[in-house]
């Protein structure tokens, strides 16, 4: 067991730090949350900078234009960019972490050539059209129908919660190609151009008040059969393959961020007064803060364990355990933050010299973490059934 960087890892870290120190001052301020064209511009400009410096597709194989970095280097990349306050992956998320890797492993040479380079440079933005109004946790029950018509599929259906749909060029779309097959066996994975006729995007406003995701209505949308990745009716397996690409790194930036926020919370507590003393004078509160610090330090250690597991190819229990525990801890952190801020937490803008904006928005935003990408209940089912071998309910 070794937590220190190897010589190669520390060289990688140093080089990255130098590059970030030189590059970040050239990056402009983040655009407003509601300014979608601006956000696309900002996120893709950052992606281009990463590409030019050789950091795009850090975990992708070299032969497909990635850096072919080890899982540990991937971890270092995410850790250092977060610590340096670099822009997030943003609208490039699905392309870099989901659709791209799927095309890497399951795509044809032609599909790879057409999309992978543009994903890496930030020229092509992807969204994920998996969930439907009737199919969330039970994703495999989805009903969006694709009927074969010559060398096209004609697609009809309704997707929902499609993040970044408004700015995306392509959608990784799950469709039902065989309605008579068992539910996991009749699904196909298609690349859908977002400008296809018959496609309507209707933004949904989140609890945060911004339009992070949309509904996507599909009305006789024609998609070339050549846009199918993997075999017909093999889309479920294709989807599952991709998940392994993350290699335990899904929450790195947020865990690093949480550890920073714990420190910030201690500082806030020293400033805020409650009754006749500062919040920090309250031993009970200090214990709660210390307790959360232990959890996030532990989650950080667990992340390192997961990354090592990924590197050895031995699947460990880490991914679901991490998702479940991290998202719940993050919510408790935000609740504690709100308690310390007191009535300053009622403002979404900084107030009274306190950083209310970040805490209050994230308090709202973190509500989604235990829902998106598999709810906490579903994670507990997965842990119980797949890791502990308990019998299924049905």
């Amino acid at each position: 067991m070794d937590l220190r960087d190897s010589a190669a890892e520390s060289a990688f870290r140093e080089q990255l730090r130098d590059w970030l120190a030189a590059t970040l001052p050239t990056v402009g301020p983040e655009p407003a949350h509601t300014d979608w064209p601006g956000r696309r511009e900002y996120d893709t400009a950052w992606q281009r900078l990463l590409f030019d410096a050789g950091y795009a597709g850090i975990n992708w194989p070299k032969e497909y234009g990635g850096r072919g970095a080890t899982p540990t280097e991937h971890l270092i990349f995410l850790e250092e960019t977060e610590r340096a306050g670099a822009p997030y992956v943003g609208v490039n998320f699905v392309g870099l972490l989901h659709a791209g890797p799927t095309i890497v492993t399951e795509g044809t040479p032609q599909q790879r050539g057409a999309h992978l380079p543009k994903i890496l440079t930030g020229e092509e933005i992807w969204c994920q059209g998996f969930s439907e109004p009737g199919s969330g946790s039970d994703l495999a029950s989805m009903r969006t129908r694709a009927a074969r018509d010559g060398d096209h599929y004609v697609v009809n259906g309704h997707k929902i919660w499609t993040s970044h749909a408004e700015v995306a060029d392509y959608c990784e779309l799950l469709v039902r190609t065989d309605p008579d097959a068992p539910k996991h066996k009749g699904i196909s994975w298609l690349m859908m151009p977002m400008d296809a006729p018959g496609l309507t995007v209707r933004p949904l406003t989140t609890a945060l008040g911004s339009a992070e995701f949309s509904e996507v209505f599909l009305d006789d949308v024609r998609i070339p059969v050549a846009n199918r990745v993997g075999d017909e009716n093999d889309g479920w397996r294709v989807t599952m393959v991709t998940l392994s690409f993350e290699r335990g790194t899904a929450w790195v930036d947020q865990i690093v961020d949480s550890i920073r926020l714990i420190g910030e919370l201690a500082e806030i507590a020293k400033k805020v007064t409650s009754r006749d003393a500062t919040a920090w004078d309250d031993r009970g509160l200090r214990r709660e803060i210390g307790h959360l610090a232990a959890e996030f330090d532990g989650l950080w250690a667990m992340t390192k364990r997961g990354v090592t597991e990924a590197g050895t190819g031995v699947p460990g229990p880490t991914a679901s355990v991490l998702k479940l525990r991290y998202t719940e801890a993050r919510q408790r952190l935000m609740e504690l933050g709100a308690r310390v801020l007191g009535r300053a937490s009622l403002s979404r803008a900084d107030i009274a010299g306190l950083p209310a904006s970040e805490w209050t928005k994230e308090r709202i935003n973190s509500l989604s973490y235990t829902i998106a990408a598999g709810t906490s209940q579903i994670q507990r089912n997965i842990i119980g059934e797949r890791l502990l071998g308990l019998p299924k309910e049905r």
């Binding site: 232990a294 250690a301 990354v307 590197g311 842990i383 119980g384 299924k392």
Partner: protein, 307 residues
């Protein structure tokens, strides 16, 4: 970075596990401290991991998880941390904590008294101690001392001994938490109600999942803290403040062990409340360790102070 046990480390852990399985199966648990089991453990070299084998706390933590897994009683932690300068078994006393209670006094050669200046007192010279007639953990006898005995100074810093003690106690707690998860899961797979294994019910399944989550988080924290203390001992740069790492590990391990104990009783239903099913022994041991080498509350406070 390679944050998984190496093959050698796993082999050492397996070795300890095998010895324990033969000298201290669950059936022996109700009999309490077992001198011959103790001797067999000494023979495995667990206490000499650092002094003779030249290994570190990472290896010790893996071995101590095994001691927790079988719930074997004995003054393991103090014996390990004093192995460089005292003959075991060695027990310990926290002089700042009232009442002054010492576990396994009659099974020990000496008491490590962990005040600001740690000292060692021969167990035979302790006067006026009384055995608790009803200790919480029936397998871990406790003696109450009328006052803090005097002893001879030892050549190790209090802070280091406290860190090591908390770490190895956390390792035992992680072992307890892991075993309780195994017990609950295997019961949930076999016990049937309403015509199906109770583990098929989400209300039970999710209890088991949470047990695993608590255990794995505590284990990652434990291993991280062990590696950090080893790095420090080897003059390397540690990735986190050692005190913070140890406090986090002890806090999460205490929660995993005691939380899993309660959960395991619940999964077992009425059987879980019987003397015959060993779950209560694990839980009571976890409660005992939760008061040793700093409570979760104290560690949480220390952690906050270190921010």
């Amino acid at each position: 970075m390679h944050f998984l046990p190496t093959e050698d480390q796993l082999e050492l852990q397996r070795g300890v596990r095998e010895v324990l399985a033969s000298v201290f199966p669950l059936e022996k648990l109700p009999d309490g401290f077992d001198q011959s089991a103790w001797d067999s453990i000494v023979e495995t070299g667990v206490f000499a991991i650092r002094t003779d084998l030249g290994l570190g706390l990472a290896e010790a933590a893996l071995a101590f998880e095994e001691l927790g897994r079988v719930c074997i009683p004995g003054p393991f932690v103090a014996t390990f941390i004093t192995a460089g300068f005292a003959d075991g078994p060695v027990t310990f006393l926290d002089p700042a904590r009232q009442p002054l209670l010492v576990p396994y006094l009659e099974n020990s050669q000496a008491i490590l008294i962990l005040g600001e200046q740690p000292v060692l007192a021969p167990a035979s010279e302790v006067v006026g101690s009384t055995a608790l007639t009803e200790p919480l953990d029936p397998l871990s006898p406790l003696h109450e001392l009328p006052s803090v005995p005097s002893g001879t100074a030892v050549g190790a810093a209090a802070e280091q001994l406290k860190h090591e003690g908390a770490l190895l106690t956390a390792a035992i707690q992680v072992g307890i938490a892991a075993r309780l998860t195994e017990l609950a899961v295997s019961y949930a797979k076999t016990r049937e109600q309403f015509d199906r294994p109770i583990g098929a019910f989400q209300a039970v399944k999710h209890i088991c999942s949470d047990m695993l989550v608590r255990t794995e988080l505590a284990r990652a924290s434990l291993h991280s803290a062990a590696v950090i203390l080893d790095d420090l001992a080897n003059g390397e740069m540690a990735v986190l403040d050692p005190g913070r790492a140890v406090s986090g590990a002890k806090l999460l391990a205490d929660e995993a062990a005691t939380g899993n104990g309660r959960s395991c009783v619940q999964v077992y239903g009425g059987m879980g409340f019987t003397w015959e099913v060993p779950v209560h022994f694990f839980l009571k041991r976890a409660w005992l360790h939760a008061t040793e080498f700093g409570t979760a509350d104290e560690h949480a406070e220390d952690l906050a102070a270190a921010l």
